[in-house]
């Protein structure tokens, strides 16, 4: 029986919870999981996985695709080849998994959101076309596979395991890529994580000239204006106003999403809002799957009407 090698992620020495998604995924497949981590102490992982493999690399060097290939080769040397090598679908997983697949010449499936077996073997489900379609992928040959696992896609089944901790032998760094340090984004003018009402605009806002209308709407409602990635990318609103995995995670009382289609990275940043109202003219927009209330209408018309009414009420 094989095992699944899970490459975990820490930031600032703290294990990221998303490292556990691939562990839960391994449980679902029915394989023992070996969780590979940088130097550190991981007592809270006792019972969660079958092995914790502690690398001699510190975090900055460990979370580096080039060094990781060497680390994984060491693991394969010590424990034999795993059936799967899994990462969280994060900035780190996206960095390391494809590179590792290329080095090992193993197939790769990213952003795995579902799994089942049919008579011919394992089937991996991955969203395509801005979440509108799920593709069911099969491996063409039986050798191992590298994958990244979507955060929250698999639930822990509360299995208690006899976790064995092992330290891996020290290996040399690959000199071709070097970690220099972390940077934190500058503090913005407004802290959107504190707002009780967020009016959030997405790609549907169309152009910069339309932003003031939504500023006005937010301010008339006593709320705060935030945005999805495309709006911050274009510099129409500062990065500090961006909701999503690479921006801020928010949970206001009301999240009014206007012209936001609902990419997974955005949903992850706002899904715990108490009430989500989505306004989008595309009825097949994925955001309607997550919102509590939906309005299938042009965001500009809705905003104009709201402003009119708010001003009319004086």
């Amino acid at each position: 029986m094989g095992y699944a090698l899970v490459v975990g992620e820490t930031r600032g020495g703290v294990i990221e919870e998303r490292s556990l998604d691939p562990v839960y995924f391994s449980d679902k497949i029915g394989l023992p999981s070996y969780l590979l981590l940088p130097q550190g102490k991981y007592d809270p992982l006792k019972g969660v996985c079958d092995k914790v493999l502690v690398s001699s690399f510190e975090e900055g060097d460990f979370l580096n695709p080039l060094n990781l290939v060497r680390t994984v080769e060491g693991v394969i040397g010590a424990f034999g080849a795993p059936s799967l090598i899994l990462f969280p679908h994060s900035s780190f997983g996206m960095d390391a998994a494809p590179f590792l697949a290329g080095r090992l010449s193993w197939p790769l499936i990213t952003d795995i959101a579902g799994f089942y077996r049919d008579e011919e073997g394992m089937v991996f489900v991955k969203p395509l076309y801005s979440e509108k379609v799920h593709a069911h992928f099969r491996l063409r040959d039986a050798r191992g596979v590298v994958g990244t696992v979507r955060t929250g896609a698999f639930e822990g089944e509360g299995m208690r395991k006899e976790t064995v901790f092992e330290r891996l032998e020290a290996i040399e760094k690959d000199p071709r890529r070097e970690f220099l340090g972390y940077l934190e984004e500058e503090v913005g003018d407004v802290d959107i994580t504190r707002a009780e009402l967020l009016v959030s605009v997405g790609r549907g806002v169309k152009e910069k000239e339309n932003i003031p209308t939504f500023e006005e709407l937010a301010s008339l409602l006593g709320g705060t204006l935030s945005c999805s990635r495309p709006v911050a990318d274009r510099g129409w609103l500062p990065k500090s106003r961006q909701v999503g995995t690479s921006g801020k995670t928010v949970k206001p009382k009301v999240y009014l999403a206007m012209g936001i289609s609902g990419a997974f990275q955005h949903i992850a940043g706002m899904k715990n809002s108490e009430v989500i109202i989505a306004v989008n003219r595309d009825p097949s927009a994925p955001i309607f799957q997550y919102a509590h209330y939906g309005v299938i209408e042009d965001m500009h018309k809705v905003a104009q009407k709201m402003i009119e009414r708010l001003k009319g009420q004086g």
Partner: protein, 258 residues
């Protein structure tokens, strides 16, 4: 500097109702508009800026049907010097296969580059993998989620990588290297339709994929496509604009935010 950019011509499906075809193994793209993959637009802009600052030649390379020539012309109109289209009408679903074809192309054409740029992901399959696999196959240093190229000096480049929650990391990478560029890294220059049309006069090569097919093999295949099982979903507020707005105000009031 020699810079190569990979550019994909992709369907724009964000606002389209999709239909499944070919035994539910593909999406019907007949009526869907296409464009240059958004991430690749940023990669091309970044390459153009590097070439403006350091001199050298820039390639834009695409793999796809003949319509993907528009991706090349857009890249050329944005400042790159040479274009190559590896032509195939096949839908290549495995990024491994695409990476292998690009590797064969670079080697067979003898293209020596300092930097190879791609977008972090393509809008259609969102695999975020071709650049990374290619770097692995070429055994060149790699970084994705690149949000800034700070400094290019003799034999190395310093880049910022976007992490989660507003953090970034700074890494130094030796050249030649493969980098995948995140949206928002720059502001891509505006190119008019006439600019794209005029780029038709620029140097481009059209090469059949068969020339670069050695060792190429899809390692994964699509068993089927399906629409995601509906979640509970939103309660749709119906009615005219006044009623809709009234309802939104009601909800805000209920939650005590108005």
């Amino acid at each position: 500097m020699e810079v190569v950019v990979l550019a994909k011509w992709v369907p724009v499906t964000q606002e389209e109702e999709l239909k499944l075809v070919r035994g539910e193994k593909a999406v019907d793209l007949e009526e869907i508009p296409f464009r240059l993959n958004e991430w690749d637009t940023y990669a091309i802009e970044e390459a153009s800026r590097i070439l403006e600052a350091h001199g050298g030649t820039g390639w834009v390379v695409s793999l796809g049907g003949e319509e993907a020539d528009t991706a090349l012309r857009r890249g050329l109109a944005m400042g790159l010097g040479k274009g190559a289209l590896i032509e195939t009408e096949e839908e290549l679903v495995d990024p491994f296969e695409r990476a292998q074809i690009f590797k064969n192309f670079l080697e067979k054409k003898g293209i020596k580059f300092d930097l190879l740029l791609s977008g972090v992901q393509a809008e259609d399959d969102q695999f975020a993998a071709t650049g990374g696999i290619l770097a692995g196959l070429l055994d060149l240093p790699y970084a994705t989620m690149v949000m800034g190229i700070e400094e290019i000096s003799e034999g190395e480049v310093t880049v910022l990588r976007e992490l989660e929650g507003g953090f970034m990391e700074r890494v130094r990478i030796s050249l030649p290297a493969v980098l995948s560029v995140q949206t928002g890294i720059n502001e891509p220059r505006y190119v008019s339709v006439t600019g794209v049309l005029a780029a038709a006069k620029k140097e481009r090569e059209f090469l059949p994929v068969d020339e670069f097919s050695e060792g190429r093999k899809g390692r994964i295949e699509i068993l089927k496509l399906e629409f995601p099982p509906p979640r509970e979903g939103a309660e749709i507020i119906k009615g005219d604009l006044d009623e809709v707005v009234e309802n939104i105000f009601e909800i805000l009031k209920e939650k005590g935010v108005r």
